[in-house]
């Protein structure tokens, strides 16, 4: 019984994930695309939970859906109407090529998983209940993967600085804006 429940949740989550993914890519209005992405992130979080990655699921919702998507929505709101872009135009062979490349990638990965990997993918390791818990992750961050932890913090710092620099107005832009206002 529990198994069937797990399966059902899994299928629902997977379907939502893929559906929202397609939605992100196909909507014309970026606002709707962003909302679809939030849905995608949420269903992914469910999948994470099913794969015993509890901390990561939580982080996904907090960081991604919470911070990153909010940022996106802010920018979309700031841009307003200028953010809309039609689908068509540009070189068509790019479109054909894109479809081919994406399909090729998919097929290849499926082939690998299905044919080449063989039994390797069906023998899962036994895990304890604390697998994927925040305590475990935290312990690893401070012992085995300390370097990754520190470097990641530096990356975030750099990104923050970069964002601030990109956000400041230059003097020319300032003048232009003031001119625009006074005119």
């Amino acid at each position: 019984m529990g198994d069937i429940l797990v399966w059902a949740i899994w299928i629902l989550a997977a379907g939502a994930c893929l559906g929202s993914g397609i939605a992100v890519v196909s909507f014309g209005n970026p606002f709707f695309s962003a909302l679809a992405l939030i849905g995608n992130l949420a269903s992914l979080a469910v999948l994470f939970l099913l794969a015993s990655a509890e901390f990561l699921a939580a982080a996904q919702v907090l960081v991604y859906a919470g911070a990153v998507m909010v940022m996106f929505l802010f920018v979309i709101a700031y841009l307003g109407g200028r953010a809309d872009t039609p689908f068509e135009g540009g070189p068509s062979w790019v479109s054909a090529g894109a479809v081919v490349a994406a399909t090729a990638l998919l097929v290849e990965i499926v082939v690998v998983i299905g044919l080449k990997a063989g039994d390797a993918l069906s023998r899962e390791a036994d895990i304890e209940r604390s697998f994927g818990s925040p305590a475990e992750i935290g312990r690893l961050f401070l012992t085995d993967h300390l370097l990754a932890f520190e470097i990641t913090s530096i990356v975030l710092l750099v990104a923050a600085i970069g964002g601030v620099i990109l956000g400041t107005k230059t003097r020319d832009e300032d003048e232009l804006d003031r001119l625009g206002e006074s005119a």
Partner: protein
């Protein structure tokens, strides 16, 4: 493990990744491109988590966390660029930025 095998997770990840690739190449709005990029990153994260579960090893999850942090940083910079472009009153169309044409 209850529920589907690791291979099912991987297939979902693969499909999600392809969707992301399509989005990056086919859409002309930089915002949508960034969103598609996020999809691709998330697909990778899903694969990492699945393998972590397969091997019973936390390394995949640690890696996925690092990916998440980097993705966030990249979004910051990307959005900053888009805002800068918009402020210069340029049209937000990826095909218009052809200055590096050889």
């Amino acid at each position: 493990m209850r529920g589907p095998d690791v291979s099912w997770y991987l297939i979902v990840s693969a499909i999600l990744f392809s969707i992301g690739v399509l989005g990056v190449i086919l859409r002309r709005s930089p915002l949508i491109v960034l969103l598609s990029l996020e999809i691709m990153l998330n697909a990778a994260n899903l694969a990492l988590i699945s393998f972590a579960r397969l091997h019973g090893d936390h390394d995949g999850q640690i890696f996925a966390l690092a990916v998440m942090a980097v993705a966030a940083s990249e979004v910051v910079v990307g959005l900053g660029l888009i805002v800068a472009v918009a402020r210069r009153k340029l049209v937000l169309d990826v095909d218009r930025f052809r200055v590096l044409r050889g």
